[in-house]
């Protein structure tokens, strides 16, 4: 069966809208950064298909955990983009009341258990969410997204081993965008395949084209099925590419070629899905344009929402360090600070 055939129209259009929304959101973030309203962020432009293809299979009560580059994970998991944009601008209406920012967006109500600024750090946490599900007898799935660079962290190995022996419903999704900052994947990953590492832990590791949301959807389907059925974890290595620099104003042409960039941009995930939708007659140009416009309008509204929101009040500095008291009480030395 050809890729994508058999996926229902609603799902295809959801995936399209999700990817377009992510892209418009990231473009808006860049504008906010250029305007000095945030200090920089890790753009996910180019990688939209990876979380989209996976989250298409997830329920709200499934968990997703991310890394430093997680806007696309959040949007694909259904986090409100108004609150996301407000968070990026440090506003009290943000997902995290402005206290987390771009690398820490979380919305547990939506099953987004948090981005994380420390490379590899969320992988064990995800294993714990899956253990929780097992102990509670639930069939929820826990997905962690991490980069090719994160494969160098011991936390991945420890977590694959734990998920392996306990047959946890974890999906380890490596977004191999070929670089960790300026370091190419070919240099940093011994053996040349992250997917191949899963064999050492006795569960499947698969490579997928992360620029092709239909392939992502297919591969994810089997992984999610396994996880729900209690058959244990899966490692997915999604081959993808970040179109922009690592962070903020990083210029990627210092460490990769224009030809390489062009090669990846030529298989853009959004263009690919829109072609499929049109070719298969799932929807027409007009319908896709309407989605495009809706996404742009939503992002514009998010930006306005963020702009119009207030910054947290000073006392928020001391709030939520602990559940049962504001830490100001135990902070002897901040009296002149707030």
């Amino acid at each position: 069966m050809a890729k994508g055939i058999g996926i229902d129209r609603r799902t295809l259009l959801w995936m399209y809208e999700t990817m377009v929304t992510i892209r418009r959101f990231e473009e808006q973030c860049k504008r906010e950064a250029d305007a000095g309203k945030l200090s920089g962020m890790h753009s996910s432009v180019g990688q939209e298909a990876v979380p989209t293809g996976i989250c298409a299979h997830l329920r709200t009560d499934d968990y997703v955990l991310g890394n430093h580059r997680s806007h696309h994970h959040c949007i694909a998991k259904g986090v409100d983009i108004n609150e996301m944009m407000a968070e990026l601008l440090g506003k009290v209406t943000g997902t995290n009341r402005g206290k987390g920012g771009t690398m820490h967006i979380a919305d547990i109500g939506k099953g987004m258990l948090g981005a994380n600024g420390v490379v590899g750090s969320n992988i064990p946490v995800t294993t714990g969410a899956a253990l929780s599900a097992k102990l509670k007898g639930e069939d929820t799935v826990s997905v962690v997204f991490f980069g090719d660079g994160a494969s160098g962290q011991g936390a991945l190995h420890e977590s694959m081993n734990l998920a392996g022996i306990w047959k946890l419903g974890v999906i380890f999704v490596c977004e191999n965008n070929r670089y960790a900052e300026a370091t190419p994947f070919e240099y940093s990953v011994a053996g040349g395949s992250i997917a191949a590492r899963a064999a050492g832990y006795g569960f499947p590791g698969v490579r997928a084209d992360g620029q092709d949301v239909l392939e992502m959807y297919e591969v994810a389907g089997e992984a999610v099925r396994r996880a729900r059925a209690g058959e244990g974890p899966t490692l997915i290595e999604a081959q993808t590419y970040r179109y922009l620099g690592h962070f903020g104003a990083d210029n990627p042409l210092l460490y990769r070629s224009e030809e390489e960039e062009a090669r990846y941009r030529a298989k853009d995930c959004i263009a690919g899905l829109s072609a499929h939708i049109l070719e298969e007659g799932v929807a027409g140009e007009a319908e896709l344009s309407a989605i495009d416009e809706r996404a742009l309008a939503a992002v514009t509204a998010a930006s306005r929402f963020a702009d119009e929101s207030a910054f947290p009040e000073d006392r928020e500095l001391f709030a939520d360090v602990y559940n049962d008291y504001a830490s100001g009480r135990f902070t002897r030395h901040a009296e002149s600070g707030a």
Binding site: H104, L113, G114, N116, S121, A155, Y322, N323, D324, F330
Partner: protein
């Protein structure tokens, strides 16, 4: 407390912790325990509970609660403590065992970057009701990596709570408090206390032999006065509370009345109890087994100096481990540890 000698229930520290864990697991189905050999013989029905924890704190629990809730782990502290964070954030109340505090270096990221910060970073919307149990302390001829105290570096981090029981009664009350707390709490159990009974046959309170059967909570953030006195305050934590009590007894023979404050809670700090005692006695000796630099002992000295400045008759005095790793050789290790003599001599120097 009105227990009579007849219904005295003398438990060891280990038994008291074990009882706390059992009672909390009975009370709350979301509580579970994870760690290396917390059962032992994992996965083999005929051999389960071979160990019951490296210090036997979890002995017998697998029989009652099964291998799901008393879960042996591979040697993967980052993996399973991180899993504890994830489980705590999703509705469970995990207790994870970090066998020796000196192993924090392989899992510090999960404790200090995730457990400690999630609640704050996420704007208060996620809680991490995680309990970490760990063992501390020298005196067991185990050398530099297996003898550290280190609560100071955990107390450094906002978002973590740190407690340190000094005997069976406080061990039970603080473990229960930790498990019920909605924040991550680390319980530091001293290797020389585990296996011991309460300090004092004569007393019927937290410093006596008796450990009540019914579950109870010692509030986190509260210190206790282990012994009242008027001339000098000795502040101890965990094992050094016993050292302070011994020193106080010797000082009494020399005609001085020493008050002993048992810190119990390292973070948050019970500044009121500490300052009240020092303002009364006007002299303080702080006794701590942790390394001296950037330590709980420094905090206490600074606190007293800043907040009770006008009350002090002598500068605060610290008796701590020296600024050296823990030596293996027993005579050196004996020199390393704060002991009664050093505390008495420090007290005499401020009493002079």
């Amino acid at each position: 407390m009105s227990e009579t000698r007849e219904n005295l229930r003398a438990l060891t520290f280990t038994q008291a912790v074990n009882e706390a864990l059992r009672q909390e697991m009975e009370r709350d189905g979301t509580v579970f325990i994870m760690g290396e050999d917390v059962a032992g013989g994992a996965g083999r029905a005929d051999f389960e509970d071979a160990w019951g924890g490296p210090f036997r704190l979890t002995k017998g629990l697998i029989g009652e609660f099964g291998p799901d809730r008393v879960r042996d782990t591979p040697i993967s502290e980052a993996g399973f403590i991180g899993a504890g964070v994830g489980a705590a954030a999703t509705g469970m109340r995990p207790i994870v065992d970090l066998m020796f505090v000196g192993f924090f270096g392989v899992c510090g990221d999960q404790i200090m970057n995730n457990a400690a910060k999630m609640h704050y970073m996420f704007g208060g919307k996620v809680g991490v009701p995680l309990t970490i149990m760990t063992s501390i302390g020298a005196g067991t001829n185990s050398a530099a990596q297996h003898s550290e105290t280190l609560y100071s570096i955990f107390a450094h981090f906002p978002g973590l709570k740190c407690v340190c029981p000094s005997g069976p009664y406080s061990a039970k009350g603080l473990h229960i408090a930790a498990i019920r707390d909605d924040d991550p709490v680390i319980v530091f159990n001293h290797a020389l206390l585990m296996g011991r009974r309460g300090a004092n046959v004569e007393r019927d309170d937290v410093y006596g032999l008796h450990v009540p059967e019914d579950p109870y909570v010692l509030p986190i953030g509260k210190s206790l006065v282990a012994r009242e006195g008027a001339d000098v305050t000795l502040i101890g934590t965990g094992y050094t509370t016993l050292v302070c009590c011994e020193a106080a007894a010797q000082l009494a023979e020399q005609g001085y009345s020493a008050e002993v404050v048992d810190l119990l809670s390292i973070s948050p700090l019970d500044e009121e109890t500490i300052l009240e005692s020092v303002m009364k006695t006007r002299k303080v000796v702080i006794v701590d087994e942790d390394y001296p630099r950037c330590s709980v002992a420094s905090d206490l000295s600074a606190l007293v100096a800043e907040e009770a400045f006008d009350y002090l008759d002598a500068p605060p005095k610290r008796v701590t481990a020296p600024h050296t790793p823990v030596p293996y050789s027993q005579p050196l290790e004996a020199l390393y540890l704060p002991n009664r003599e050093r505390v008495v001599s420090a007290a005499l120097s401020v009493l002079a």
